[in-house]
Symmetry: C2
Subunit: 316 residues, 2 copies
């Protein structure tokens, strides 16, 4: 079994690559829920949905979020009514949130609901929310000399991640426990891969749950991460500016330091080869490969190379 710690878009492509590869192994994705939120009372789980839609062949690749062939009738009408519509939910996408909200109201857990949707969508891998307890990524922003704490979605979607981050907190993580099967999957996996996701906003919320962190630390020799930074740039989203805001630079070394206790291997892009020796001096094994998943074939090649690399270092 291969276990993947996962955020949204980048992780989803990596998981699709894993599923499409010749590895023929069970895949378990442990997905960040720190971005989960309520909109108009509906329970929205952005990373779980991105992973599910991508694996179901339903992702809207031109938008980068939501469902393909989507309509926005409800949101257009809501705008006409003067409602809050900055977090745009397509009509097909709404069905997911209506279903989830209904099931949660019936006292199903997020784990159960996620598995039900994944099964209906035929995603072919096991998708686990990191926790059934609420963990909420809150971001302390600084603009014009004043600070304020906002939700992940407000920062990411409403403010288009333009403002400077002072601090990120994972509210609830201190008391949250891992969802069912999360700790077992980490313990039993042949290798553990931290997907090319934003380290601060997507992966650290998962590792902020103490028992998950401890489980991964125990498997450090079998854990590798795929760098979300290529040539000093984030492949997608605000990872680069986040790293700069919090660590002063967006270097691979900054990312490597975040994962120091958790991973023993790092997969970086050819164009970052000059960082190799510095990463090795931090104690990492380093794989140089093509990390830009611009085609399905490249997703699969990266997934296979990453798993092989992880296996080579794994001590069980």
């Amino acid at each position: 079994m291969i276990c993947v710690l996962s955020g949204g878009v980048g992780a989803a492509k990596f998981l699709r690559g894993l599923r499409g590869s010749n590895l023929d192994q069970q895949i378990v994705a442990i997905v960040n829920t720190g971005d989960d939120d309520r909109f108009h009372s509906l329970a929205v789980s952005p990373d779980i949905d991105t992973v599910t839609y991508t694996l179901a062949g339903l992702s809207n690749d031109s938008l980068g979020w939501g469902v393909k062939d989507e309509t926005f009738v409800a949101m257009q009408e809501l705008t006409a009514l003067g409602g809050e519509s900055w977090f745009s939910l397509g009509d097909r996408d709404l069905a997911t949130h209506l279903y989830r909200t209904d099931r949660l109201n019936e006292k199903a857990t997020l784990s159960e609901v996620t598995a039900e949707i994944a099964s209906k969508r035929n995603v072919g891998i096991e998708i686990l929310p990191m926790s059934n307890d609420p963990v909420r990524t809150r971001i302390l922003l600084c603009s014009g000399g004043t600070t304020r704490e906002v939700s992940f979605q407000e920062y990411f979607v409403k403010q288009r991640h333009q403002e400077r981050i002072l601090e990120v907190n994972y509210r609830g993580a201190e008391t949250a426990t891992a969802a069912p099967r999360v700790l077992d999957s980490i313990a039993e996996a042949e290798v553990i891969i931290i997907a090319p996701s934003n380290p601060i906003l997507s992966i650290k919320p998962i590792l902020a749950i103490d028992e998950i962190a401890k489980a991964v630390i125990k498997r450090r020799s079998s854990t590798v991460f795929v760098s979300p930074i290529v040539g000093g740039k984030a492949i997608k989203g605000p990872a680069e500016s986040n790293l700069r805001d919090l660590f002063g630079d967006a270097s691979l070394v900054s990312v490597a330091r975040i994962y120091e206790d958790f991973a023993s291997g790092i997969v970086i892009d050819h164009r970052d080869s000059e960082a190799k020796s510095e990463l090795e001096s931090l104690g990492y094994r380093v794989l140089l490969t093509d990390t830009m998943m611009t085609t399905r074939a490249k997703e699969e090649a990266l997934a296979e190379a990453t798993v092989d690399f992880a296996k080579a270092g794994a001590v069980n």
Copy 2:
């Protein structure tokens, strides 16, 4: 000012007739909220929405509910997910519920939200929910020798009102108070009209709120009702079987007895002329006219005739 106690479809047409008539008077509709419910966590107010959509020119006249030119993308997708979709919400209609739910979560009252939507929809009359407190019409059904209590929507939509009613309860009515402007409107109206709505499921929930009942009773001489029964048949919906289940027959006399304390006049259809003397013997003034609102002109004619009739008996 003309004050109308209102359920859904029949009342909405009557209100449209009033607005389109030559009466040139302020119109206030006090609308039943006993059918309100939550679907997938969204706050749905069927009668308020029917009245609003009808007055906004948005009603779906072929379906008899919801919004015209509607799409059902969200519900189709929800069905694909295996979700509960017997209460079908169109995509445009969903916007209303998303807006309402959001505003209620922000601690706005149902009165405020209803006024906001009515204003955005340019309905041109004042729409008041009967109460901002939850009153829920619950129906005790009997089938196959067993009884069970269901919500209004489960009876009406899911079971298609096919089962026998044993009892109807208006849960919460005993502690509910009238929404703002409801009691004043009743007290100040030149005439009060009980719309051609289901007496048991649409109007009695309103009158189940003690202070509303008392206010209408005080205005009995200025209150008339339009019969929802024509030739022993309900114009629409289950009024006829409801009356039969609870009172043994669906006669005008049964309806007239329900409103005895509240109204002094009754508007009936020409084809029910033989009931006139019996209704008069109950103490009612009776207007014989065409009560079938099959065209806009007939809606307006009925509205004008009803107001004139009410004015003729009104004692202020």
